[in-house]
Amino acid sequence: MLALTRGIMPTGLAALAGLQAVPLPGSPAAAAPTFDLHLPWQLLGALGPDLLLVVGAIGLMVWAAWRPESAGHQRRVGELSLWLVVATAAAVLAYAARHLTAEPGVIAVDAFRWAADLIFLVATFATIALSMDYNAREGITSGESHVLVLFATSGMMLLAAARDLMLVFLGIELMSIAVYVLAGLNRRSARSAEAALKYFLLGAFSTGFLLYGIALLYGATGSTTLTEIGDRIHQYGLGAAPLITVGLALLLVGFAFKVAAAPFHMWAPDVYEGAPTPITGYMAAAVKAAAFAAFIRIWVEAFPEVVYHWHNAIWFLAVLTMFVGNIVALVQRNIKRLLAYSSIAQAGYVLVAVVSGTTLGASAFLFYLAAYTLATMGAFAVVVALGDRGETNLDIDEYAGLWTTQPWLALAMSVCMLALLGFPVFGGLGFLAKWYMIQAALQAQYLGQPTPQVMLAVMIVLTSVISAGYYLRLVTIMFMRPRHPDRTTAALAVRPGALTESVVVVSVVLLLALGLVPAYLVNWSARSVPAITQRPVYVLPSAGSGTP
């Protein structure tokens, strides 16, 4: 199989094959600087980009509250927030380029963290840029809204770095509490307030499960650090201990709520519909990505030994999520609800990477998230561009005849839909992401034993066919259906703000360009696996026995 894939995509999978025996060309050399996380200053150093973002956001929050609210102030705070995101991304890139490492401790310093951080920061940049135009249109004058996005992002970066269940909890809460507020940002809208209330109550409810799971795992192993939990389960043979099983089940329920996996997805469509559109995009892309990043790290680092307890559970969760998300999306009329169900379905595909649980699974996860984030932010940017004040034109019939009024927006939306569908060439990166995910499912292994997830690969393909029913329907509505005479064309003729336009253009161009030249991104995601997946238990078996 590797010989076959090497022909199609030479660099990335050759690099993956290289994982078996020798360190990757880009992986940390022995001489790379290592953080000793027991020393306070070194711990602060390991958290450098996160601290830059948090301190900057606190400063911005003070400045945002200092001046009276006005549209101009909102925009200035937004601009500074964008610069802060760029600075943080530069810091992340600088850290990533130095191949830093750390002794096993509460914070991970590895390529997986930096890769996930970059995905969050791209989504954050797009969200703030969209919010600046959206707030101006909706008459939201609070500059704090942008700073709250920054706080949520710092929670996500903590989640990507956390190697301790307590830090996972703190990261999730830092992210969620900011997003509860963001969902209710539009104080004039009863729908926005309702979305915030529902998100808050169900989010807090799921936090309870997550935390109880953490408590029981702490009780079973005496530690909350992922590597120590993994070591103790191995050392004392705790795999079948009831506390571990129940704790894992509770943890799984908590995470399934956060990533909106069926059957814990009921809150998502309501919240996505009521929240301000840029924030909906943020929730669909970044919040979900962050929860998944922590999810995959916990499962891969702490519980490789107890796979048999959680494998079936996540397997069914993935299949159910793929089917429920895609089938219910078929009957949606509201574009935001449609995208909500689409994002539920996409969570199902990402769960396949968690089930696959190998280095290939982790890199497929990052590759998929990169494609999904670009496509989602692009789609929501088009929804923002076409929305009118008060968000009254979200019915998908409003998109009829878009090709005749705003052809470029119609083309951009089509590319995003095709990317989410996984269509070759015109869907750009989306097709390769799905292909990569199917590869990960087919090459899945546990404890060195190849256990190809053929059924899951089949399910991905089957449910993708179902998803064509709604992704392509939107495309046909935009291009082929004439505008209903009763509906005004006023909103469709308005030229969107410059920032919204740039988000649309950049995400679509990146999707198409990276789709044509994927080698760089494939290499990047293949290198960026959690450091711990290279532990002996995860070393892939030698060639021959590893080929299904």
Binding site: L197, A215, G222, V271
Partner: protein, 97 residues
């Protein structure tokens, strides 16, 4: 002693979950969520008798986060009350489909 505390904590947690699932008043649902968090705190305290003070440190973290969550949550409940003059979840149904 540890076993009794854990049992009590599990019962409290179950009461909280049942409360969230059956009650319809947003404030009571929120109180039940707090009950769940405090049940977890009790578990942490019980386990800290076995493993040292780390469990008690976690409880401080959880209480801090719960306080922040309460501030945001009550503000959201006030916001919804201003729009709808009710905090009954069965009446709060603009979003559905």
């Amino acid at each position: 002693m540890v076993a009794e505390s854990l049992f009590f904590s599990a019962v409290l947690f179950a009461v909280g979950v049942i409360g969230v699932l059956t009650r319809r008043n947003a404030i009571i649902i929120f109180m039940c969520v707090e009950l769940m968090l405090n049940a977890v705190n009790l578990s942490f305290i019980a386990f800290s008798r076995l493993y040292g003070f780390a469990g008690q440190v976690f409880v401080i973290f959880v209480m801090t986060v719960a306080a922040a969550e309460a501030a945001v949550g009550l503000a959201i409940i006030i916001a919804i009350f201003r729009h709808r003059q009710t905090v009954n979840m069965t009446a709060i149904n603009l979003l559905k489909g």
